[in-house]
C-alpha cells in the first residue's frame, strides 16, 4: 500500500504531475557557475595539507638527491645520478640494506606467528573470562611502553651484568656472560628480538578481533564433517583470517622498515655496523656527515622500496 502511494506512476494524477516534477528536477540539477569547483573546496583543506606537508618535502628531497652538497653549500650544482651511484656502491649502504631485510622479515614473521598464537589462546573457550582479561593486560603491556622506555629496559636487561645473563648463567644455559647488544654475532638478533617483543601485542589484538569475527557456524559445520582441531584451524581459521593477516604483514613490513628510534637508542647501528639499517644510515649521512645529498638519495631509495610494499597493500585492500 505504501509503495503504491510513493510510486508516481501508480497514482491517478501521475500523468499530469510527471512533466511538472521533471521540470523541477531539471531546475534542481541545473549547474550553477563554478559548481564543479565546489567539491575541490571541500577537499581543499586535505589537499593543501598533503601538498604542504608531503608533496613539497618529498619533491625537495628528490631534487636534493640530484644535486651536489645541498644545504651545506650556498650554490649546489646538478650532479645527475652521482649521489645514487655513491650510495648504491657504498658497502655500508649495502650492509644496511641486508640488515634491514633480515630485521623486517624476521620481525614480521615473528609478529604474525606470536600474534596468532596468543590471539588463539585468548580466544579459546578453555580459559575463563577473568583469566583471559588478566592475560590480555599482561600481553598488551609491551605495546603500551614508548620506544625510549623499551630501549632503556632492554639495554639494562641485556647488559653483560644484567638480568638476562644472570638468569641464563644461574640456570646453567650459558657458562659465560654474553654482551648481547655489543657482540657482533648477537647484536642484530637481540635487536630483532626487542622489536618483536615490542610489536607483537598489536598483532595479537588485531588477529583476536579477526578471530572473534569468524562465525561459530563454520566451526560447527566442520566438526559435523569430522574435521580435527588442526583441520578446523587450517581450513576455517586461516582462510577467514587471510585478509587480516596479509594486510597486517604488509603494514608491518612498512612500519618495521621505518624503525629508527629503537635502533638508535640501543645499538646506534653498531657494533661494526651489524645493526646498521637504512634509517640509521640515512640519519648518519645527514646529521653526522652533513652529506644531505647522499642522505636524500638514500631516502629516495627507501621511499621507492616502501612504495613497492605500499602498492601491494593497496592492491590487497582493493581485492577485499
Amino acid at each position: 500500500m505504501e509503495t503504491a502511494k510513493l510510486d508516481p506512476a501508480a497514482s491517478p494524477g501521475a500523468a499530469k504531475s510527471a512533466p511538472e516534477s521533471s521540470a523541477v528536477r531539471r531546475r534542481r540539477t541545473r549547474p550553477f557557475p563554478g559548481q564543479r569547483v565546489v567539491p575541490f573546496g571541500y577537499l581543499s583543506p586535505t589537499l593543501i595539507l598533503i601538498f604542504v606537508l608531503m608533496i613539497i618535502p618529498i619533491a625537495m628531497v628528490v631534487s636534493y638527491s640530484f644535486k651536489d652538497n645541498v644545504i651545506v653549500e650556498q650554490n649546489p650544482v646538478f650532479a645527475g645520478l652521482a649521489n645514487y651511484t655513491t650510495v648504491l656502491t657504498d658497502p655500508n649502504f649495502l650492509a644496511a640494506l641486508k640488515n634491514t631485510f633480515i630485521f623486517i622479515t624476521v620481525s614480521t614473521v615473528a609478529h604474525l606467528g606470536l600474534g596468532l598464537a596468543f590471539a588463539t589462546m585468548l580466544n579459546t573457550p578453555l580459559l575463563g573470562g577473568v583469566t583471559k582479561a588478566i592475560f590480555r593486560i599482561v600481553y598488551i603491556l609491551p605495546w603500551l611502553f614508548t620506544v625510549a622506555v623499551i630501549a632503556v629496559i632492554w639495554r639494562l636487561m641485556l647488559d653483560p651484568s644484567g638480568v638476562v645473563n644472570y638468569i641464563l648463567t644461574t640456570i646453567g644455559v650459558m657458562r659465560e656472560e654474553v654482551s648481547w647488544l655489543s657482540d657482533p654475532n648477537t647484536a642484530l638478533w637481540a635487536l630483532t628480538f626487542i622489536n618483536i617483543w615490542a610489536g607483537f601485542p598489536f598483532f595479537m589484538i588485531s588477529i583476536l578481533a579477526g578471530l572473534q569475527g569468524i562465525s561459530p557456524v563454520l566451526y560447527e559445520a566442520a566438526s559435523v564433517d569430522g574435521a580435527t582441531a588442526y583441520r578446523r584451524f587450517r581450513n576455517v581459521t586461516i582462510p577467514q583470517l587471510k585478509p587480516v593477516l596479509l594486510s597486517m604483514a604488509v603494514l608491518d613490513l612498512i612500519w618495521t622498515s621505518q624503525q629508527f628510534a629503537l635502533i638508535w637508542m640501543t645499538t646506534g647501528g653498531g657494533p661494526l655496523n651489524v645493526t646498521e639499517m637504512l634509517s640509521t644510515y640515512t640519519y648518519k649521512q645527514a646529521f653526522s656527515s652533513y652529506e644531505f645529498a647522499t642522505a636524500s638519495a638514500a631516502a629516495v631509495i627507501v621511499l621507492l622500496l616502501t612504495m613497492i610494499l605500499a602498492f601491494f597493500y593497496v592492491r590487497l585492500q582493493k581485492e577485499r
Binding site: 651545506v72 647488559d159 651484568s161 657494533p271 653526522s288
Partner: protein
C-alpha cells in the same frame, strides 16, 4: 524535500566551500608572514632575541632564567626568549635551522659543530662583532677560529680528568692513583682481579654518539703531549703518538680490564657502571660529579690527571668540552645578540654561570665560587691549571664523522679483526679528504 530547501542546501554548500578555502588561504598567508623571522622588534623598539641552548635543562631549575633576567635588567630594550632542550635535540634543531637559514639569534654551540656551521655561512664572524663593539677579547680564555675568524666563544669549560674509585683501588692493593700508563694497566688488572663483575676501566665506543673517541681514547694521547694532527692541520693517525695510544688501549683490552659491552656502551652507561662500583676507573666530565654523588653519596672517589706515557714529564693535556656561544648570520639583531654574548662573558656573570654549571670559566679573570661545591671541583681546577685544555676535534669539519670512522676501525682492532697498523691506515685514508 522542497525546491527551496535544495537551493538553500546548494547555497550553504557553496558558502562552506568558499569559506574553507578562504580560511585556509588566510592561515597559509598568516603562516607565511610569520615564518622566517627568528626575533622581533616591538613598537617601543624592544628587541626580543631567541637563544637556543641545552644549558638551562642542565642547570638548577630556574637559575638560567634568573641570569637572563639580570641581562634584561641591564639592557631594558632587549628581551631574551630561551629555546631550551636536551643536547641532542638542540643539535638537530640547529642543523635544521642552519640549513633553512632560520637559526635563532644566539646559539649555544659545541666546538664539534662550529666548522660545519661556519662553512654553511650559518653563524656570524664574531671577530667583526667584537671589533664593532670595541670588545676587549684578551679576557677570553679561548676562541674557536676558522681561517683566523672567531665563530665561537667557549663560555664554560668542562674538563675530563680520570675518576678513581678509592675503595676499589685500596681493596685491590693499590696505594696511590695511577699516574703513568704502566701504573694504570697494573691498577686496572688488580681491580679486575677482584672478580664479581668488577673491571678496571670503562670504554664507551657507541657509534651513535662516538665522542668516546675524543674523551676516552684520544685523551691518552693528549695527556702525553701528543697530537693527532700535523702542524698544518692534516691527520697524523699513522704517527707514533696515535699508534702508541691505540696499542695501549688494545693492551688494556687484551688484559681483560675493560668492562664488557664496550662496543655499544654509551657515556651514561659508563657513568652508571662507575657509580655502582662496577668499574674502578673512568675518564669523565666533572659535570657528572653531582650525578655520581646523587646516585651513591657514599661512593669514595677522587679525580686525578689522566696517566701519561712513562717517560713523559711535560705538561699534560686534559680533554674538555665547552658550552660555546655564537651568533646567527641570519639574525637581524647581531649587535644586540653580541651584547648578550658580552654579558655571559663578563667576569661576574661568567663566574656565576661556571659556579652553577660546576665548570671552569671562559673568562680568564672570572673566579668560580667552589666554597659551596664539592671539594673535588677544587682538585680538578688545580689539575686544569697545572695542565692545558686539549681537544683537537674542536673546530674540525665533520668532527663527529671523523670520530665515528676512527671508532669503527678501533672496534675492528679490539675484536681482533684487524691490526693496529691497518686500522690506522684506513682511518688516515678516511680523514684525509675531510681535513
Amino acid at each position: 524535500m522542497t525546491g527551496g530547501s535544495t537551493r538553500l542546501q546548494g547555497r550553504t554548500r557553496r558558502l562552506l566551500g568558499v569559506m574553507a578555502v578562504a580560511v585556509l588561504s588566510a592561515t597559509a598567508v598568516g603562516c607565511g608572514s610569520n615564518s622566517g623571522s627568528s626575533a622581533g622588534t616591538s613598537a617601543d623598539g624592544t628587541v626580543t632575541l631567541e637563544f637556543a641552548q641545552w644549558w638551562a635543562p642542565e642547570l638548577p631549575a630556574g637559575s638560567f632564567d634568573k641570569l637572563m633576567s639580570e641581562f634584561t635588567a641591564q639592557n631594558p630594550k632587549i628581551k631574551v626568549k630561551l629555546l631550551s632542550g636536551p643536547y641532542a635535540s638542540t643539535k638537530q634543531q640547529l642543523v635544521s635551522g642552519a640549513a633553512s637559514r632560520t637559526l635563532p639569534d644566539v646559539v649555544g654551540l659545541d666546538g664539534a659543530w662550529v666548522s660545519d656551521f661556519a662553512k654553511q655561512g650559518a653563524i656570524a664572524d664574531l671577530s667583526e662583532l667584537m671589533a664593532a663593539a670595541k670588545y676587549d677579547s684578551s679576557q677570553l680564555a679561548s676562541q674557536i677560529q676558522i681561517k683566523g675568524k672567531t665563530y665561537m666563544i667557549p663560555v664554560v669549560n668542562f674538563v675530563y680528568p680520570l675518576f678513581v674509585n678509592k675503595d676499589l683501588l685500596s681493596k685491590a692493593g693499590v696505594k696511590t692513583p695511577p699516574s703513568t700508563r704502566t701504573e694504570f694497566l697494573d691498577a686496572a688488572k688488580k681491580i679486575s682481579a677482584l672478580g664479581g663483575n668488577v673491571k678496571g676501566w670503562a670504554l664507551p665506543l657507541d657509534t651513535a654518539v662516538p665522542n668516546g673517541i675524543q674523551n676516552d681514547v684520544m685523551s691518552w694521547l693528549w695527556a702525553s703531549g701528543g697530537s693527532m694532527l700535523t702542524k698544518d692541520g692534516k691527520p697524523d693517525l699513522t704517527g707514533q703518538g696515535v699508534k702508541s695510544t691505540v696499542e695501549y688501549v688494545k693492551s688494556l683490552n687484551d688484559a681483560g680490564v675493560i668492562a664488557p659491552g664496550a662496543l655499544t656502551m654509551k657515556e651514561q652507561d659508563k657513568v652508571e657502571k662507575f657509580s655502582t662500583g662496577q668499574v674502578g676507573m673512568m675518564i669523565d666530565s666533572l659535570a657528572h660529579i653531582t650525578l655520581i654523588k646523587k646516585n651513591d653519596p657514599k661512593l669514595n672517589f677522587t679525580v686525578v690527571p689522566i696517566p701519561a706515557e712513562d717517560s713523559y714529564t711535560g705538561k699534560r693535556g686534559i680533554p674538555y668540552a665547552s658550552w660555546g656561544i655564537g651568533v646567527a648570520e641570519s639574525s637581524e639583531h647581531k649587535a644586540e645578540a653580541f651584547k648578550l654574548v658580552q654579558f655571559l662573558m663578563n667576569k661576574q656573570a661568567n663566574a656565576e654561570l661556571s659556579t652553577l654549571a660546576n665548570g671552569f670559566p671562559g673568562n680568564k679573570t672570572a673566579e668560580p665560587d667552589f666554597s659551596k661545591s664539592d671539594a673535588l671541583f677544587k682538585t680538578a681546577f688545580d689539575i686544569y691549571k697545572a695542565g692545558y685544555p686539549a681537544n683537537e676535534f674542536v673546530g674540525l669539519p665533520k668532527s663527529e664523522d671523523l670520530m665515528r670512522s676512527f671508532d669503527e676501525q678501533l672496534q675492528l682492532v679490539l675484536t681482533g679483526k684487524q691490526s693496529v697498523d691497518d686500522a690506522l691506515n684506513k682511518a688516515q685514508q678516511a680523514w684525509a679528504p675531510v681535513l
